[in-house]
């Protein structure tokens, strides 16, 4: 499985990398919305899931999400927002824009793994 993490925080990408490795997946990284669009233009056929932060310099996560859903090449890739934005209004906005899941920071690694599995439609993850 190939997952794209879009977050301006390298430490959050590192946390996500840990979770993806537990799932034997491969992580692609982008530190901004524009970087994410570059990665997607090259790799979209291989990406199974996008984990998207909201507050980033330049394009916000919501703007990236809107671009993804407006482009037929990327539209079908599931997107999980991974963000500190936890106001109901913003969650609704993201879901309406096409996010399939929404995970609010802070989270535990176990929770992240569980939500990644759900987003991929791969059932329940059980910690050994």
């Amino acid at each position: 499985m190939n997952i794209l993490s879009v977050d301006d925080s390298a430490i959050v990408r590192k946390i996500i990398r840990g979770a993806v490795e537990v799932l034997d997946g491969n992580l692609l990284e982008a530190a901004s919305g524009m970087e994410a669009m570059d990665v997607l233009n090259k790799e979209y056929k291989n990406i199974d899931l996008i984990l998207l932060d909201w507050n980033m310099p330049g394009l916000t996560g919501l703007e990236v999400l809107e671009r993804l859903k407006a482009d037929k090449r990327f539209r079908s890739i599931p997107v999980m927002m991974v963000t500190t934005e936890s106001e109901r209004e913003n969650i609704v906005k993201a879901i309406q824009a096409g996010a399939t899941h929404y995970l609010v920071k802070p989270f535990t690694i176990e929770e992240l793994i569980k939500r990644i599995m759900e987003s991929l439609g791969r059932g329940e993850y059980r910690d050994a």
Partner: protein, 157 residues
């Protein structure tokens, strides 16, 4: 300058930080007012801060020693402290401020104290200390988890 509203909001921040540290790193944190505590021997070498835009613009900050930052970020990421780079520590503590501010933003969203987040930033050095003008409403708390110590500061600017 003492300000009851700021004190209450600061309480939200320290509770949020305690919760984040409990959830992501497994630490139990206690908090005391800097003015009510003994002189600390802690010499902060890393600080992260964020400006909050609201009816009253505010700065929140966390300051600690590198060794404390390394332990916290190691627990958050699952990476050994000695394998974390300087940049990881700066980035991680900034993210801690971001998470804490995000939680409080939601708590205050339908109140006159609601605010917008900005990009968190970090500062490195020796014996770091943020000193505000005495006339500014401000709060300082010492947060302790075992032998680790974090200074939380908040001030209207």
């Amino acid at each position: 300058m003492h300000n009851i509203e700021l004190e209450k909001i600061a309480e939200f921040f320290t509770e949020s930080l305690s919760q984040v540290l409990r959830m992501m790193a497994g630490f139990e944190v206690t908090s005391i007012d800097c003015n009510q505590s003994d002189e600390t021997s802690m010499k902060p070498s890393i600080m992260a801060a964020m400006i909050l835009h609201g009816a009253k613009d505010t700065i929140v900050s966390l300051a600690m020693e590198h060794s404390t930052a390394a332990v916290i970020i190691a627990y958050m990421t699952g990476v050994l402290p000695e394998e974390l780079s300087q940049q990881d520590l700066f980035d991680g503590i900034a993210e801690l401020v971001n998470i804490m501010a995000g939680e409080v933003k939601t708590m205050l969203s339908n109140t006159p104290h609601h605010f917008l987040l900005t990009s968190p930033f970090s500062i490195g050095g020796q014996n770091l200390e943020l000193i505000y003008k005495e006339s500014l409403p401000q709060v300082c708390r010492r947060l302790m988890a075992g032998e680790m110590e974090i200074i939380f500061q908040m001030a209207h600017i």
